[in-house]
């Protein structure tokens, strides 16, 4: 299991567009991935779950990946988040 914390630095937070890109990027990974914000958890493969967290700018989030491809999952998330300008 891998855990990693991120601080969001994008004006609009994780809104529909970047959420779509992150969730879409995880489709083919086998690991369970969760995202946690302010004590609430959601499945990072669930677009509605992620959106429902309503993660704003400057939020600190924790992402947990658990499964055979957990390392590449986190790498992918790093890549997508910086590409979408969510983290700096």
């Amino acid at each position: 299991m891998i855990e990693k914390n991120y601080t969001i630095t994008s004006e609009a937070g994780i809104h529909a567009r970047p959420a779509t890109v992150i969730v879409g990027a995880l489709t083919n990974f086998k690991s369970d991935v969760t995202i946690e914000y302010k004590g609430r958890q959601a499945n990072l493969k669930s677009i509605m779950g992620v959106m429902a967290l309503g993660i704003p700018n400057r939020a600190t989030i924790k992402i947990t990946a658990n499964g055979e491809d957990e390392t590449s999952v986190i790498e992918k998330i790093d890549e997508v988040m910086s590409k979408e300008g969510l983290i700096s």
């Binding site: 529909a16 969730v23 499945n43 669930s46 959106m51 309503g54």
Partner: protein, 571 residues
Amino acid sequence: MSITIEGIAASPGICIAKAFRLQHQEYQIVKKSLTNTEEEIERFEKMIEKSKAELEALKLETSKKLGEDKAAIFASHILILSDPEFIQAIKEKVATEQVNAEFALDEIAAMFISMFENMENEYMRERAADIRDVTKRLLGHLLGVEMINPSTISEEVVIIAKDLTPSDTAQLNRQYVKGFTTEIGGRTSHSAIMARSMEIPAVVGTKNVLSQIENNMLVIVDGNDGKVILNPTDDEVKQYKVKKAAYEKQQVEWAKLKNEKTITIDGHQVELGGNIGTPQDVQGVLNFGGEAIGLYRTEFLYMGREQLPTEEEQYHAYKAVLESMENKPVVVRTLDIGGDKELPYLDLPKEMNPFLGFRAIRLCLEMQEMFRTQLRGLLRASVFGNLKIMFPMIATLDEFRQAKSILLEEKEKLQKDGIEVSDNIEIGIMVEIPSTAVMADLFAKEVDFFSIGTNDLIQYTLAVDRMNERVSYLYQPYNPAILRLIKNIIDKAHHNGKWVGMCGEMAGDEIAIPILLGLGLDEFSMSATSILKARSQISRISRSEMIAVAEKVLNMDTAEEVKDYIETILK
């Protein structure tokens, strides 16, 4: 047996094709108890795949037609159908409660929809609409109801609908949609305007047409006379083929006027322009011999998206229009939002009387950052052509002065930053509020030009909601009150050496043109498809005779009297 339905001629031309009913159905969801839940889940999965495949196709097509930006919505729809929390919950409900998939989907979706609808943030609440949309698609498949999706049409059809929403029309394929008719709407409704810009025949206001027609029934749409013929006889088809050919021949005749000037038989010249909504519409105006863009409705840049367009985006759009017009005049109207045109992301409160409320210039003077962004985009683009800027919904001199000073401030700032701005930008206003029409003498001293917006001017002068069918008879362009206001505007402008255009529907109207010519209108801006017809009409009449005609109609009692009189002289 054929049936003829009379409606309002909304877009010229004639088409004969099969009917396609575009009707968004209400579904009936019935709870059923099942024993074989595995089979039900399998069926559910199949329908998800089917819906996803459709959405993939839609995404690809939209991205090609309207750009990646507009296609993104379908990517998020696909993800909703892949959402494990959502889909798993439905499957579990089917398995444990032994119910049908439709019922489970409906219940679970309702839960998610209400969760999003109850969120604080307006933007999040909007997402409920996405879930509703996707759910509807999937439910349609589960229920075996034919999905009505205009973008999947792949043969020549006539669209038959109650009304067409902007998202419906965005998905229409011009190659296959030969015409349409809608039960509600008038000449100025969204669907009518779309039909004219797509250059396909349309008849609107054909009440009850849906109840009398089935898919694949042959239909004739006569957008010239405002008639729709359902199930025509062989004779009628033959007769309309002749009419269609004659109309097309006339189009060819008109096309010869494409590169001509617009001059009456006694040598009076006027300018004919086109109204556009996007840079892509410019080509249509040039194809039909437009000498100017008399109205560029910039609100389309702001619609159908999730946030305000940036200065850069706007700059590129304005530059594209100015460049393709090659120094011909381009009158750009600054953001005219509010009324029936909403921008969900601005999160403005609902109003009791949106047409009398917080809209257009009122909104821009309040939300200045947004307004200034647009003005900077315009000013930066001004060096690429002949730009004229026009403010909408001006009711008082003070509003014009404020808007103008903001414009000049932005110009100065840009110039300080070393950015080049044209020094010949004319600044004008839309005259669409009676107070401004009455005060035209004072406005004319300060503006560079007027453009008369007749749709709103008529609405505000006769106090008539043009969308309300019960009072729509009061929407009277030929009412002498309107004509007198127009005369006042033109006279006062000319007295001060300023020019006057008209960008409302009236400018392209066969009955109004002779009167407007007599009153001295300088520029007529209309749908691209009306330009050549108007040029042909103007080239056959005499300005000096029309001065007398205008004089006469100004003193008539009623709109009907005016109309009847003009019809007799047109014969």
